[in-house]
Amino acid sequence: MKKRMSMKPMVLSLAVLCTILGFAGVGAAKYPGKPIKLMVPYPPGGASDFQARIVTMLAQEEKYLGQPIVIINKPGAGGMVGWNWFVESAPKDGYDLNAYNVPHFIAQSIVYPKKAKYKIGTKEPIANWGADPAVLIVPRDSPFNSVKDLVEYAKKNPGKVTVSGGGNFIGHHIALIQFNRAAGIQTTHVPYAGGVPALVAVVSGEVMAGFNNSSDAFRSKERLKILAVADLGRCPFLPDVPTLKEAGYDVDDTSNNFRGIAAPAGTPAEVIAKLADVFPKMFNDKIVADKMKETGCVLDVIPRAKLKEKWVKTEALLKDMFKDLIQE
């Protein structure tokens, strides 16, 4: 009798223990076993934020990750606050990912080697979801009707042409530096706190021209003239706008704002392999692709292997471009 009485709780606790261990075992074997956090280093509502929300909206479906992705915003210093936190403090177990913006983070790592705690080696690229090329815009009533008009004026009046952009060392600024070099002109760069105020400055005629996001410029096209796009090919929703290359100025797609997902260096290889396999499929899902199209964003899915090459190439280009600007 006595034995049986004491057996019962023991069996019960054993069963509970097995269940817990079983779950733990399953959890360890099957990644992901809980929701994944995706850190976006920009405030909610911006293009990077809402695109991140769109491209990850299907994560919970069994055919992809089977777990939801939760967006965490950590804005500040043009992304530096979030990315610094990410490489210094984020757990490397695959449950903490971040959204990256290239060329921004690479440019920061070159210009501010002390303040920025990251460089391309500290992040493992997973997959790229989108690209937002910079476009050259002027106000609707501007006397410039083509890139040529602007270049001719700038040649006669060095430094007089004011060109707005969303901040220093981001895509817009890089496009302007490339354009200045290719056309052999001098212009005055006017950095604004973000793409939208920089766009307003062109619409209101505060500045004479600007480099801005193609998607934002497209929405304001009735109040602007879009002269050229700084990309290798034309923009699908701006088919009449030539590339700078077509207009005769040798500018490539370095300034193109690429957005995608990265994991911290040190994340287990099998986790990265799984994510690198799932994410491109998820980005190309018809539901995601349609939603991106509706919002006027260009879907540009680049898999991990190609992305790695691209980052190395971009870093080399930017190192050359900013070699005189490096700050301690």
């Binding site: 509502g45 939760v70 915003n73 005055t188 307003v200 505060e206």
Partner: protein, 655 residues
């Protein structure tokens, strides 16, 4: 003009669909509650709800976001009035008179005044949005960098007349706030200034600083006065107070007109926002009043001015977004994301391509104003519950809420530390006659002013030249004239009231020397920067140093003039209690990351009364009530934010 109204009315039946109406009510009630939590600004409230609209019909989703926006702006006044901590920057002017009203037993009247004025201002703003959209869009584009710079300077001059205390100390605090805004990476040039620690790379974020500056001194003042002020105000609910208050508010014709017009104009200016609207309206109403000296003592006019202005801003702030596709405020930027997700491109095409959705959205906003009014009044009835919470429980709750609010703004524990640090600093400062309001105004306007100044400066150098660029243009000239008038009035009224107002004490000599020394040290750390990066902070520090020198000289002069240093009413300062509270806050913050936010908060409720030595038997008095309060409070936060809205908090071993 009128066709706008007709279109909105024609589409109103879409809002009245049962599902949309439910969404509207949910948005309004949720918005008021979210807005009332310090730290959950309208921007954050809307951002938290955007993911919920992914799977809704576009119209319902937009009604939800519009309702939350409208209601959270008004909701921010609740915490300003009841606990002296503004829910968002837009409500800082509300607490100047709102909290004194609540402290003297008129919390309910203050809230009724607030929601009635919010409704009047809000409807005025909506009417402007509906009837004058296109001309206003053109007007909004006239505000370029120089115009915004001058408007900011105007806002900064208001600081001098805002407080009732020492004007020079207010200006020093304001300069300190402007300096705080220059810390970290500059948003346009990307250069770094005053980064003494890596924590400061992102700079001082406005909302966490706002909460720290108001909440921490409030906690200490509750702890200090505990046991001293045994006369806890017990008051009867006045009969018919609702009707009386509404009638009274309706009679404040001039206050409402000034508030609504100021709110509308400032709402249109891209990037300036509600904080400025409230302060400028409050200041104007005070200057035009027959009894300016009564402002700040708890009069309904003060609450009415601030609240009608910050709600009048809501409608016009959407004009640039809806007509040009350009968000004029951070909240509008989040709304833009919400629109884009549904494939709706705001901009010139919007009214042509999606007239039904736009007009349903605007109709929803109008109805949300009405909903905010009705539910706001209903919630106000229960304000006594909050007023009756014992000071001890209240101070713990303020610490927990403030920590939560500062953390969730951008998921940053550094923000919490900075907020509490600033709070400790201003608490010490408050012992020497400094107050948080001017610091916050400086912090908010400083970065806007600097950004505008730098851009205008670069453009002026490339083209028109400095003088022509800054001092021509009708809006510039008008702003400069108002600035001059404001400063002139400040000096005039300061001199008129100088006999009783500005008092200097012996400690001011030491205070001014300490500030001067600190200013010199800070200035010294700036010298290695290039011209564009350093000009604005350098000018700020020179002004701050000059002001502290002025304070020193004036103190010496006034002390020599009248030998007797007026000793204030001396009360025993409960040093052990205050020190224990301060230490406990530090321990609490330390434990958060180890044990998790919700768990630590529960423990904190239990430990605080034991560690902070208050009266005998305090721990056990009303024990069940206290346990219930703590559990309900923390559980509500947990369910609402962790489970429903998926907000992150520090998690450690527990939850």
């Amino acid at each position: 003009m009128l066709e706008g109204i007709i279109c909105v009315i024609e589409n109103l039946h879409h809002v009245f669909m049962l599902s949309n109406l439910l969404v509207l009510i949910l948005g309004v009630v949720g918005g008021i509650i979210l807005g009332a939590l310090p730290g959950v600004s309208p921007t954050l409230a809307v951002a938290l709800l955007v993911p919920f609209t992914f799977y809704m019909e576009p119209a319902s989703g937009l009604i939800l976001l519009g309702a939350v926006y409208t209601a959270s702006v008004a909701g921010g006044a609740i915490s300003a009035i009841l606990i002296n901590v503004p829910g968002a920057p837009a409500n800082i002017a509300t607490l100047i008179d709102g909290y004194p009203m609540a402290r003297s037993g008129h919390a309910e009247a203050a809230l009724y005044t607030c929601f009635t004025s919010s409704f009047i201002g809000g409807m005025f703003g909506m009417l402007i949005l509906i009837t004058l959209t296109l001309p206003l869009a053109e007007f909004a584009l006239k505000f370029r960098s120089t115009e915004i710079f001058w408007i900011c300077i105007l806002g900064l001059t208001v600081v001098a007349s805002l407080g009732t205390g020492n004007m020079i100390k207010a200006l020093i605090s304001c300069a300190f706030g402007v300096w705080l805004s220059t810390i970290g990476s500059h948003p346009t040039t990307g250069e770094f200034r005053f980064v003494y620690h890596d924590m400061l790379i992102g700079g001082i974020t406005i909302i966490p600083a706002l909460i720290g500056l108001f909440a921490i001194p409030q906690v200490f003042s509750l702890v200090e006065s505990y046991g001293l002020r045994r006369t806890v105000i017990q008051f009867q609910r006045e009969r018919g107070i609702l009707g009386k208050t509404i009638l009274h508010v309706l009679r404040m014709f001039r206050v409402q007109t000034v508030g609504s017009i100021v709110g509308t104009i400032i709402g249109l200016i891209p990037g300036v926002g509600g904080a400025v609207a409230g302060i400028v309206a409050y200041d104007q109403v005070k200057k035009f009043s027959k009894h300016p000296e009564r402002f700040g003592t708890g009069i309904p006019e003060g609450v009415a001015a601030a609240e009608s202005a910050n709600n009048a801003m809501v409608g016009p702030s959407l004009v640039p977004l809806l007509t040009l596709g350009i968000p004029g405020s951070p909240t509008a930027a989040v709304l833009l994301g919400g629109l884009l997700i549904h494939g709706i491109f705001p901009g010139p095409d919007l009214f042509r391509l999606h007239p039904q959705i736009v007009h349903t959205f605007i109709g929803g906003l109008v109805l949300a104003q009405a909903g905010m009014f009705i539910f706001g009044l209903a919630i106000s009835r229960y304000s006594n519950w909050v007023v009756r919470v014992p000071d001890l429980t209240m101070s713990i709750s303020i610490i927990v809420l403030a920590t939560f609010g500062t953390y969730c703004v951008q998921n940053s524990f550094e923000d919490v530390l900075m907020a509490v640090g600033l709070g400790f600093l201003i608490y010490i400062g408050s012992k020497f006659g400094f107050s948080p309001m001017p610091i916050v105004v400086g912090l908010i306007l400083g970065s806007i002013a600097e950004n505008a100044f730098l851009k205008a400066f670069i453009i002026a150098k490339a083209g028109p030249g400095f003088l022509r660029h800054f001092f021509t243009g009708s809006i510039n000239i008008v702003s400069i004239l108002i600035c001059a008038a404001s400063i002139g009035y400040g000096i005039y009224s300061g001199r008129k009231g100088s006999k009783k107002k500005i008092q200097f004490t012996k400690s001011d000599t030491i205070v001014s020397i300490v500030i001067l020394g600190a200013t010199l040290l800070i200035y010294n750390s700036l010298k290695a920067q290039d011209f564009l990066t350093s000009i604005f902070p350098a000018a700020t520090l020179i002004i701050m140093g000059g002001l502290s020198l002025l304070l020193f000289i004036l103190t010496l002069m006034s002390l020599r003039a009248k030998k007797e240093a007026a000793p204030g009413p001396r009360t025993a300062f409960p040093f052990p209690k205050v020190l224990a509270t301060g230490l406990l806050i530090v321990v609490y913050l330390y434990a958060l990351n180890i044990l998790g936010f919700y768990f630590t908060s529960l423990i904190f409720y239990a430990i605080f009364p034991i560690v902070v030595p208050l009266e005998k038997g305090m721990v056990f008095r009303q024990l069940p009530y206290k346990i219930l309060t703590a559990v309900v409070f923390v559980a509500t936060l947990y369910v609402l934010f962790k489970i429903v809205l998926k907000v992150q908090t520090p998690t450690g071993l527990f939850f």
